[in-house]
Symmetry: C2
Subunit: 352 residues, 2 copies
Amino acid sequence: MRRSAPTSQDVARLAGVSQSTVSYVLTGSRPISAATRRRVEEAIEKLGYHPNSGARALRSRRSGVIGLMVPEAFGNDAVLMRFVGAIAREAQRFGYDILLVTAQEGARGIHRVVRTGVCEALILMELGRHDERVAAVIEAGLPFVLIGKPVGFPNGSVVDLDFERLGRMVVDRAADEGCERLLLFGEPGHRRHRNDVSRFLLGIEEQAQGRGLEVVLDAGDLPDVPARARELARGGRRTAVFGLNGVTEVLFATAASGALADPELLPLALTDEDLAAISPLLARIPRIDPRRVEISELAVRELVRLLREDGASPRVTLVEPEWVDPDRAGQERPGQERPGQDGGEHGSTPTG
Amino acid sequence: MRRSAPTSQDVARLAGVSQSTVSYVLTGSRPISAATRRRVEEAIEKLGYHPNSGARALRSRRSGVIGLMVPEAFGNDAVLMRFVGAIAREAQRFGYDILLVTAQEGARGIHRVVRTGVCEALILMELGRHDERVAAVIEAGLPFVLIGKPVGFPNGSVVDLDFERLGRMVVDRAADEGCERLLLFGEPGHRRHRNDVSRFLLGIEEQAQGRGLEVVLDAGDLPDVPARARELARGGRRTAVFGLNGVTEVLFATAASGALADPELLPLALTDEDLAAISPLLARIPRIDPRRVEISELAVRELVRLLREDGASPRVTLVEPEWVDPDRAGQERPGQERPGQDGGEHGSTPTG
DNA sequence: TTGTACGCGTTATCAG
DNA sequence: CTGATAACGCGTACAA
């Protein structure tokens, strides 16, 4: 039978002070003499004291827990992992823990964790176009951040990759390299309902018009891709190929089965993997870094800002995609800077 | 300014009963007349009442939260995702939430979440051979389950794939198909320190001896794989190739670049992906399902068992790997049953 | 600069 | 079958 955890009472006794003094040392909400502070801290150390989170949450209405609502598909999409890991680590840095809430629970899940007081803030991922959870989280009234920007969402903080710009970047690259055609994998046309895809296509279409590029939206299912790419390339017009999200790695590895050897094809990838490290066949593929770690960290920091500065108004932060080009040796080098951007996030626009 | 969440007092007032009656209706720890129960439940529904988790945890010492300690590499290894998603969903089913604890925090992290009382139970993943966290979680004294079986770990509950059997299965398959050589990718020889790899190799070596199969442990880095496979196959002796964990998908897609077309090579994969759906090139690869979802669910259920039945002694549960063979049409069919196993978990051995 | 006392919302032990 | 009441451990207004 193990003894139960020490309380602030125990610490107070050991340090020869009152319980409230211990509390004040911890919260720092009142000046404490250096001498007693030291005695208290020693006692804390000696006992291995940690304040009881239940009691603290009950009293202060702050649980130190951030809820992270992960998509339904969580578990099938490897990409989400990067976000979750980075979010957990960054939250830790600020003294918060991450609680998983499955999207399966929907709006009810939000109400649940809010009403029970388990979470004092929320991060939502991969919202649909008209998502019930947005209303729920606003009504809940606690600080929240969305990862993944809805098309015109104004009433809250958002952090996301700048997908419109991504679209333009892809078109520009293709055109700059002399392509007359752009082939998009992963069925973006069928996924317009997704916010990221929809914004991406906006950028694509807008820029393609200006650069006179033909865009082929839906190149078929994954297994059809290599054949389709080859067939198009046979036309003799140089063609760029690009795929969005998770499928990318597999897609290109697949395409590498032969289609990509064609000099008429310019493959471009959106991935945070170092492709050259996977296979020399992929080494020549220029990629765009989706900056998922940065996005995650920014989301946490934005949430912390909302939690700490009170009366803080929400912000929309779009992170710049970055080219990572392989050089001749097959080693990667950092993407070139372009005029008017420093490779960091750009728009940080107030909204509320 | 939104009003704060309703309390059991509010419910009691509305239902015209005392506060404690509300509590008893919720916990069911005392018989309540059908009439008052109904009135209370209506009041709860009308107010949207949820019991405050802080107060509940403070009083009952049960937080309803299970801590999940994820590996350092969390975010780089897509495979872990499957576990986390399935764990979160299954925990939900039993009324628990999952709190992420990063392995970065090490043993201190365990002490922290235990002492603060945030978690009432723990799941640990990917423990090293001599992991400080095992001692920490045992000392902490609360229920825990390990996903990933240490070589000889006795004092706690464990759920894992039967990696020794996996090794034997791979060897048997290779031998049955007339291979004289087995080529292992993913540098298992360099990763013997990992529990799963070490047990896998145990099974491999043991069985390879009996079947007279030559085993090549470290076939180089990922990009070298195709060349190495081809070179070996040129010897004219039929060769099976197999890779452990995460890398598998990419690995085989890479190898598909040509090496796998060689009839002298028998590729075998450990993956939960339907390879045929990714590319027809991968369609003929027989795979072993690592059963990560089942493992996750079993881990949660084992933890719930430890939490609910008190005095329950820990169990080691090894889940059977399963062959999933592609048939002629490229469609997958369920793996064959073998004598003495029903495709479910086999050994559920008491340990304590 | 420190100590005292109260209450956060629950669960559980008393009576009735 | 139900109602009062005492903790649980901490944060903070008030008193010293």
